[in-house]
């Protein structure tokens, strides 16, 4: 066979780009185990002091749990609101459908700074500024598009006749939906929910505006930390966040695999 040098050249270049995409992030993991106060690479030894620093600091741990809490409540509200809207988007014949879709997904496309300014302007006139519920509302706006884009596709791929069969056999439409449709589209529902969680958990810009002085999400605390000094404690937190993201990513890939095998996507 003739060796195709062009192809080898293109592929090698592409592989370098892929390494550029994936490697830089993971550099913070070895650094988080470094005993040095400076961000040296390779680290001069091994130490858990920066993790200890993180877990023994009340303000860091509190913001971590605060973020988890906001993320969890956001996940639930965005999944419920987004799934209900997805049913309409997937099944209604209304001419307003594309309008509805645009309104619901704009928060994914409009620059976050504009969303931040808009929500901030509303919140300072109400009592929502700096409150837990305010953050959840802001994050839900941002998370809904992720739920919708995930769930609508799956609902469209779902053969509605299965659900109609259940209804024609006497099931209430709600029961038919919960017991027939939901289990079948569950991979998409779960990944939509995980998308919503990570969208909230990683969200920074809106949180900078909406957070209160005392209740700050983890990204906001990190943002302030990075601006002041590049303390290796942040490398430890970054490593924890990377681990969480990789775990959620693996979960999504698994769900994709399952739903492919079910012949859904």
């Amino acid at each position: 066979m003739k060796i195709n040098w062009n192809k080898i050249l293109i592929y090698s270049f592409a592989c370098l780009v892929l390494l550029f995409l994936i490697l830089p992030t993971f550099i913070v993991i070895p650094i988080s185990f470094s005993p040095s106060r400076f961000l040296e690479f390779p680290p001069p030894g091994f130490s858990l002091q920066w993790y200890k620093n993180f877990f023994s600091s009340d303000s860091w741990v509190n913001s971590f749990f605060f973020s988890l809490k906001v993320g969890f409540v956001t996940m639930i509200s965005a999944t419920i609101l987004g799934t209900l809207a997805s049913i309409t988007l997937a099944r209604s014949n209304s001419k307003w459908n594309s309008m509805l879709y645009y309104i619901m997904v704009t928060p994914m496309i409009v620059p976050l700074i504009i969303i931040a300014v808009a929500i901030y302007s509303l919140f300072i006139r109400t009592n929502l500024q700096g409150s837990f519920i305010g953050l959840v509302i802001a994050h839900t706006i941002i998370a809904i598009p992720y739920v919708i884009t995930t769930v609508v596709g799956s609902l469209r791929g779902f053969d509605i006749r299965i659900e109609q069969a259940a209804i024609s056999l006497g099931a209430h439409p709600f029961i038919a939906f919960m017991r027939v449709t939901v289990p079948i589209i569950s991979p998409a529902l779960i990944s939509g929910a995980l998308f919503a969680f990570i969208a909230s958990f990683d969200e920074l810009i809106v949180s900078i505006f909406v957070s209160g002085v005392f209740a700050k999400t983890l990204p906001v605390k990190m943002w302030e930390g990075i601006r002041l000094e590049i303390d290796p404690t942040i490398a430890a937190i970054a490593s924890i966040l990377i681990t969480i993201s990789v775990a959620l990513f693996a979960a999504i890939e698994l769900l994709k695999f399952i739903s492919n095998r079910k012949g859904l996507s």
């Binding site: 270049f13 592409a14 592989c15 780009v17 892929l18 550029f20 995409l21 994936i22 992030t25 550099i27 913070v28 961000l39 609101l81 987004g82 209900l84 809207a85 049913i87 309409t88 988007l89 209604s92 014949n93 307003w96 879709y101 645009y102 619901m104 994914m108 496309i109 409009v110 620059p111 976050l112 700074i113 504009i114 969303i115 931040a116 300014v117 808009a118 929500i119 509303l122 706006i141 992720y146 884009t149 995930t150 469209r156 439409p173 991979p187 998308f195 990683d202 920074l204 810009i205 990190m222 943002w223 990075i226 590049i230 970054a238 966040l241 990377i242 993201s245 990789v246 959620l248 996507s265």
Partner: protein
């Protein structure tokens, strides 16, 4: 025919479904939520920019007449174009590789593109500070290799902003390109070659034109996101690299200058919506989806 997310479904599916009564009502909670907490305040921002306290265009005039602000606008556009161009150059071969390798290899390679999506961009930006700083890995490696004599300044300047933005936005270029390329019929390229075209010619005359929709979609997407980006320029850039979103944050967050800040936000919004309109017209908004 694939069902189109925005413009309805295929005829087959239409026939197969009996509308369930009240299905339109299910969107109401989400709609009210988004209208009240997002669209309504957005409209308020629009009014803020022209009411001070009665109708005025002075904020817009100010933005478009003071050199300092025009400078910010220019830097934003320049950065956006540069980032888009670099992403295209880096992303095109990757998309090509993804589209032309066997399924199993592709799924493995896609992980390299999708995983960064899942890693917090704040973490990724932080990683770049660690890599690019004076005592960082890159400087140390270059010194050790004897390529440079003394550490270079690679962060808190334009170089830092560009590299950080390219890293964050590259997947947004690769994915639309890949989705267009995988549908290109490679037999066309082969038949061009069998008719005597050189590999170079069959690429420029056949494959490249067929991949144009992907180039356009990826470029518009990357440009839109980069001109609205906040975190990366703020952390990796210097004083001279202030971009439009930082200006908005300064005016509203620090100076409480609502009228002027809103006006700048509106300028950015109009540019983004204009580009999105074009994007939707030619490619469909549903291309922007990261779900399974």
């Amino acid at each position: 025919m694939k069902p189109d997310l925005v413009h309805g479904v295929t005829a087959d599916q239409k026939k197969a479904r009996i509308p369930i009564q009240g299905v339109n009502l299910l969107a109401i909670p989400a709609l009210i939520f988004v209208l009240f907490f997002f669209i309504y305040p957005l409209i308020k921002v629009l009014f803020n920019s022209v009411l001070d306290p009665s109708f005025t265009l002075k904020h817009y005039v100010r933005f478009f007449s003071e050199p300092a602000y025009l400078q910010v606008l220019w830097i934003t556009i320049k950065t956006g174009l540069l980032v888009t161009f670099i992403c295209l150059v880096l992303g095109y071969p990757v998309a090509y590789m993804l589209a032309s390798v066997p399924d199993r290899v592709r799924n493995l390679l896609l992980i390299f593109v999708l995983l960064p999506f899942w890693t917090s961009f704040l973490v990724r930006t932080y990683a770049w500070i660690v890599i690019l700083q004076k005592e960082g890995i890159l400087n140390k490696t270059l010194l050790a290799l004897g390529i440079i004599e003394e550490p270079m300044k690679m962060v808190h300047n334009t170089f830092g902003v560009i590299i950080g933005l390219v890293h964050v936005l590259l997947p947004f270029m690769i994915l639309p390109l890949y989705s267009v390329m995988k549908n290109i019929d490679m037999d066309l390229v082969k038949s061009a070659q069998s008719l005597g075209a050189t590999p170079y010619k069959s690429f420029t005359k056949v494959f490249l034109p067929l991949s144009f929709p992907g180039i356009a979609a990826g470029s518009i997407l990357v440009f839109i996101i980069s001109i609205g980006y906040y975190v990366t320029p703020a952390l990796l850039g210097g004083r001279k690299d202030t971009m439009i979103s930082q200006l908005i944050a300064q005016q509203i967050g620090e100076q409480l200058n609502w009228g002027f800040g809103s006006a700048i936000a509106l300028v950015l919004l109009v540019v983004v919506l204009g580009l999105l309109y074009l994007f939707n017209r030619y490619f469909g908004l549903e291309k922007i989806s990261f779900g399974p």
